[in-house]
């Protein structure tokens, strides 16, 4: 029965094609006869991604809102928590050191009289040494002497995280508007539906991270001498990997949900812990063991480190490669899970 139906279908399509040919000319007939299209995965993927990018670009306020949050953190926290100043000469500024008198007979060789060392001189020397020590402490703790540079780079991770998290929201929104159901009813590849969200979130993250870095530079980010524009490619590659990984997770979370509230709650619940249990604000090695455990599997740690290697620190190739491998594995596994879930769950 089924086979029979198909045969009739083809015959009918041909008959229809002939009719059309009479009415509308040869071109149309060819088109009608070639009714069997094979929608390519890439075309569908790009069409869906382009739709969202167009929407996004038509709404510059949203771009601003996303950039604003890390900007506020950078401006307030980065500048107000002035750790540099703590370790600078100024910290010892109001020291009152009395003059020190040393009886001459205690010296070797002994001399007559009394040697007076002015307190002011001691204070000055202490300050100088402390400042040197401070620089060393900063250098050894943060890898750079400037805390603002350290945390401003961390903001790249923050914006990648928030941008990709909201990618899950957009799939919920599409479902509520009925757009998702319509897309599901077309022959477009299921993987393309999920991957378009992933790609869209990742491209946005890259764009916004660029803005953040540019603003940080204007606010006083100190680039390492080894920085060149080629490093940007490395930065984008690492953002891409984390973006793919994180957005896959959040899209997978949102696939079945029809309510905005749930993904919203998840986002607000995990944003802070993920940020603080990483090297975004503070080096992992100085944290208590149990936080270190979290931080060492937290992919944000690896993105932040990679971006730091490529911007403010002297480049350590082996560390950078390790970061990229970790992010790559993270992205591959989660994107695979995302695709499998989208095959299973898009059709309820």
């Amino acid at each position: 029965m089924k086979g029979g139906a198909v045969v009739v279908t083809e015959a009918e399509a041909e008959a229809k094609a002939k009719e059309t040919a009479m009415a509308k000319g040869i071109d149309e007939a060819v088109a009608a006869a070639e009714e069997e299209y094979y929608p390519s995965m890439f075309r569908g993927l790009w069409a869906l991604t382009a739709r969202e990018l167009k929407k996004w670009l038509k709404d510059p306020v949203m771009v601003l809102m996303f950039v604003l949050q890390p900007l506020i953190w950078m401006g307030l926290l980065g500048k107000s928590m002035n750790i540099n100043a703590m370790f600078s000469a100024k910290s010892l500024g109001n020291m009152e050191i009395p003059n020190i008198q040393i009886p001459g007979n205690l010296l070797n060789p002994p001399i007559s009289g009394v040697v007076v060392i002015p307190g002011a001189l001691i204070a000055h020397e202490l300050q100088r040494v402390f400042s040197d020590i401070g620089t060393k402490v900063m250098q050894n703790t943060f890898g750079v002497v400037d805390y603002f540079s350290y945390m401003a780079v961390g903001m790249v991770s923050m914006i990648v995280m928030t941008t990709t998290m909201f990618s899950g929201m957009s799939i919920v929104w599409d479902r509520r508007l009925g757009f998702l159901d319509k897309v599901i009813s077309t022959p477009v590849s299921r993987a393309a539906i999920t991957l378009s969200k992933v790609l869209n979130a990742t491209l946005r993250a890259i764009f916004q991270a660029t803005i953040i870095l540019a603003i940080a530079y204007l606010l006083g980010l100190q680039l390492s001498p080894s920085f060149s524009l080629i490093n940007l490619l490395g930065i984008y590659a690492s953002i891409f990997l984390l973006g793919v990984g994180l957005s896959s997770v959040f899209i997978a979370f949102s696939l079945r949900s029809t309510r905005m509230e749930r993904p919203m709650q998840i986002i607000s619940l995990i944003t802070m812990p993920l940020m603080f249990a990483s090297n975004t604000f503070f080096p992992v090695s100085l944290m208590p063991d149990w936080i270190q455990m979290v931080a060492r599997i937290n992919p944000l740690t690896y993105l932040t480190d990679a971006v730091r290697q490529l911007t403010i620190m002297p480049l350590d190739a082996s560390a950078l490669i390790f970061d990229l491998i970790y992010l790559g594995i993270f992205a591959t596994i989660l994107a695979a899970i995302g695709i499998v879930l989208s095959w299973r769950y898009l059709t309820k």
């Binding site: 029965m1 089924k2 029979g4 139906a5 198909v6 009739v8 279908t9 009918e12 229809k16 088109a31 009608a32 009714e35 069997e36 299209y37 094979y38 929608p39 390519s40 075309r43 569908g44 790009w46 069409a47 869906l48 739709r51 167009k54 929407k55 038509k58 709404d59 509520r176 508007l177 009925g178 757009f179 159901d181 319509k182 897309v183 599901i184 009813s185 077309t186 022959p187 477009v188 029809t258 059709t347 309820k348």
Partner: protein
């Protein structure tokens, strides 16, 4: 042309293991016809459509569209169907033209063909002059027409219309019917549609299935369904307040008497002959007839007959209600 394009056999959908939305329905749609699902909100119409267009998987039973199984050959089904959902799914931030081209991309239609078809379809639904305007600025009727155009971009063999005129005012509704008929004439496809508007079912559908609580309670052409009532409807009011149902029932050809809103609703064969007989019988007993009307059965009567009540807005899921509200709100913009 009597080939069966859609076949459903015991199709069932159960949500959350307890809510039976569609309950073992069996029907078939013939090639080239407009087949309508008529039923109140929440009767299972949209769920049925969603299964046929491969958005939902049936819990039980099977169905095929153009010979392709909706579960095992979902991909083939998707290629031959066009869908116009109940909601306005066109992207508000994009223009009408961009929306149609997006649909074309999803079907993988070659770019040049797609451009030509998009312009042709926009012309057909008379949106050519608005094609570069954002959909945000469209009225409800325009949005519906755009959805129609999008649903036709792949020259579907079967077009699914879910509540095609929901939320539109009477004039726009009539205009939309015209577009649907014109598109059908132009492309000669089979149409499966759902509606809870009786006039719409009557005006558009070649054949109907009345669906209630997830079950099909009657199938046939609108005329067959009306004839199946085997009789006309006579409505009579009398001055006196006594119950004269039994008296009326004793008149020849009277099938059924119901007391409804202050008058007797009588179903009778050959109404034009029976009505005078009823008046005669009532007069003989001294009752005064104050009012009489005789109507040939409408779909409303058919509906009443099969479901036991007038088409109603039943309780439905919050989500369905929300979707409908959203559609209504955008339609009226």
């Amino acid at each position: 042309m009597s080939e069966e394009v859609i076949k459903a056999d015991g199709l069932t959908k159960v949500f959350n293991k307890s809510l039976v939305a569609v309950d073992h329905i069996t029907f078939s749609v013939k090639s080239g016809e407009i087949f309508g699902f008529l039923g109140p909100n929440g009767a299972g119409k949209t769920t049925t459509i969603n299964m046929l267009i491969t958005v939902l998987k049936p819990t039980e039973g099977r169905a095929s569209v153009f010979g392709y199984d909706i579960v095992k050959q979902a991909k083939n089904v998707r290629k031959v169907i066009g869908v116009v959902p109940q909601e306005y799914t066109a992207d508000e931030d994009l223009t009408g033209y961009e929306n149609i081209m997006l649909c074309a991309d999803l079907y993988g239609i070659p770019r040049e063909t797609a451009k030509k078809r998009a312009l042709e379809l926009l012309d057909l639904v008379e949106l050519t002059q608005f094609k570069d305007k954002r959909v945000e600025t469209y009225s409800g009727g325009m949005r519906r027409r755009l959805e129609l155009a999008c649903g036709l971009i792949n020259r579907p063999k079967v077009l699914f219309l879910d509540e095609p005129t929901l939320g539109l005012d009477v004039q726009t509704r009539a205009a939309t019917w015209e577009y649907i008929m014109r598109l059908k004439k132009e492309y000669g496809m089979t149409i499966f549609m759902t509606t809870h508007y009786l006039e719409e079912a009557d005006a558009l559908c070649d054949r109907l299935a009345i669906i209630d609580y997830g079950k099909i309670v009657a199938t046939g052409t609108p005329e067959e369904l009306k004839e199946s009532l085997k009789g006309d409807i006579i409505t009579i009011s009398i001055k006196e307040s006594e119950d004269v149902s039994d008296l009326i029932r004793s008149v020849e050809n009277v099938k059924e008497v119901r007391w409804e809103n202050g008058s007797y609703r009588i179903k009778a064969e050959a109404g034009e002959v029976t009505a005078p007989l009823i008046i005669e019988a009532l007069r003989k007993r001294g009752y005064t007839v104050t009012r009489l009307s005789l109507t040939e059965p409408t779909l409303n009567e058919v509906y009443l007959e099969y479901t036991g009540r007038a088409i109603r807005d039943s309780e439905e899921s919050k989500e369905a209600f929300r979707v409908q509200r959203l559609t209504l709100r955008r339609a009226r913009k």
